[in-house]
Amino acid sequence: MRLYFKYLRMLVRSQLEYRESFIMTLLGQFLVSFSAFLGIYFILMRFHTVRDYTFPEILICFSSVLASFSLAECFARGFDAFPRLIKSGSLDRILLRPRGVAFQVLTSNLELSRAGRLLQAIFMLIYAVPRCGVVWTADKIATLAVMIAGGVLVFTALFILYAGFSFFTIEGLEFMNLFTDGVREFGQYPLSIYGEGVLKLFTYVIPVALFQYYPFLYLVGRSDDKRLALLPILGAVFILPCSLFFRLGLRRYKSTGS
């Protein structure tokens, strides 16, 4: 763990060296998610509610997903960039070192500029928290925190899954975007609005609804069942099969030889 923080410090420092380009990309990341916000704003200006969810409620949902995504992307960026390690053959170097592969991949990269999205999420929360009609008792605050934390773990699991697939195909990886970027984009709205089938898919196959939809129901008072607030913890278990898959891929890895 101490080694992890040492790596982290190193990566942070190296990125702050290029201050201007860092700020530019930070701003860019912010604006990218700002346009997503603007999209929701324009649409909700026209429709006011979607399946009875109000604009501030949707913002709570969106900002928790966005915060999870950007934190996961910030820290698990190494897995996101993993296909490049395979392509360039740098993975061989990693395999030679006396530390776990997953640990080294995790510490190989840290994308601080991705925090631009986090900034956007925080702004939206600041706007939505007093307006969404939730009485912010301790357990509601805890629910939101658990939602975000659970989301970070599920997105990290998806990035690990993505890295795992790169042992089998490099070119065909694009389909995973549907589950990483796609979840971020379509997770703007509570997953139930897409209908029963989609909700089931994102409950039982990819446990996104476990940190996005069900605890959200409790958070905004559509349900009084406190157990819903604990579901993100169950969702976080998703990281186990994903790591297993990654390990499976690692075992059949053959170097590209370059």
Binding site: L27, G39, F42, I43, G172, L178, Y194
Partner: protein, 279 residues
């Protein structure tokens, strides 16, 4: 072709055609990437349709466009994504600018603007060629308001094709400006990410322009952003027709000429400043 003539040598159409061919065929060889793309874009389109369905059912009277028109728009957008996604840039061109490889390009007896233009066209078209057909085929067979419907008539189809070609050219003329800005600034990552998010939003790639607030919509319709994917897709779906369609095609023509001329001018100025360091 006279106006593209940046180098001293005479410029013919043929060599651009071969640049086009090389890039097009290279693009066609990424088959598994294409299948993955088809899967992704189909899923994306499917989710987008479901999302708008939720809005439609929440308040049908606020819907600014027929649902079947919107579905056609979404499926065209997904099928032709490779043609109209602004964030897709040719990494080789940026590399040639930062590495100095641009010097070799300048030695060739052809105009740099036209060459880059053609390369970008080919790369996008080959990606789209592989991906669009399977997506459209599935979308045709989806149940009624959720799939893609045929165009509104022969006139719509013809206007759509004209507008599609123009929209594609406007988009490339706009993305040329990003490449050209890289000649000035060398590091273009910042400009690129800012321009990309602005263009994507204003061109109706995130939400279709009919969903914008009314005042804003009227203004955006006249900008080069709407002249990219929005105009052709809305003509196809019958949301824009008749005189308005002809007028908006005119707008596309004007922007194509303006962006093209400006690009050629900016590039010739940029190239005067280029100093390639030896090595």
């Amino acid at each position: 072709m006279k106006r593209f003539n940046l180098s001293k040598a005479p410029v013919g159409m043929k060599k651009y055609l071969s640049f086009f061919k090389i890039r097009f065929i290279a693009g066609l060889s990424y088959r598994s990437a294409a299948w993955a793309g088809v899967f992704t874009q189909f899923g994306w389109g499917f989710m987008t349709v479901l999302m708008f369905k939720a809005f439609y059912e929440s308040s049908p009277e606020s819907f600014p466009i027929l649902f079947s028109s919107l579905s056609s728009y979404i499926w065209l957008q997904q099928a032709l994504l490779a043609m109209f996604m602004f964030w897709f840039f040719d990494g080789e061109i940026f590399d040639s600018i930062t590495s100095g490889g641009i010097a070799y390009e300048l030695c060739r007896p052809c105009g740099l603007y036209a060459m880059w233009f053609v390369k970008n066209m080919a790369a996008r078209l080959s990606n789209a060629a592989l991906r669009s057909v399977p997506i459209l085929l599935v979308a045709v067979f989806l149940p009624k308001p959720y799939g893609i419907s045929p165009p509104d008539g022969i006139l719509s189809a013809v206007l759509f094709l004209i507008s599609l070609i123009l929209g594609f050219l406007v988009l490339i003329a706009m993305s040329m400006l990003i490449y050209i800005s890289a000649i000035y600034t060398l590091s273009s990552a910042g400009v690129r990410i800012l321009a990309t998010s602005a263009v994507e939003f204003l061109s109706g790639a995130i939400i279709p322009i009919p969903f914008f607030p009314d005042g804003l919509r009227a203004v955006i319709e006249l900008t080069p952003f709407a002249a990219m994917q929005s105009t052709p897709f809305l003509i196809y779906s019958g949301h824009i027709d008749g005189d308005k369609a002809v007028f908006l095609i005119g707008v596309q023509l004007v922007w194509l000429a303006a962006l093209g001329l400006f690009g050629v001018f900016a590039m010739s100025r940029a190239l005067k400043r280029v100093t390639v360091q030896g090595g």
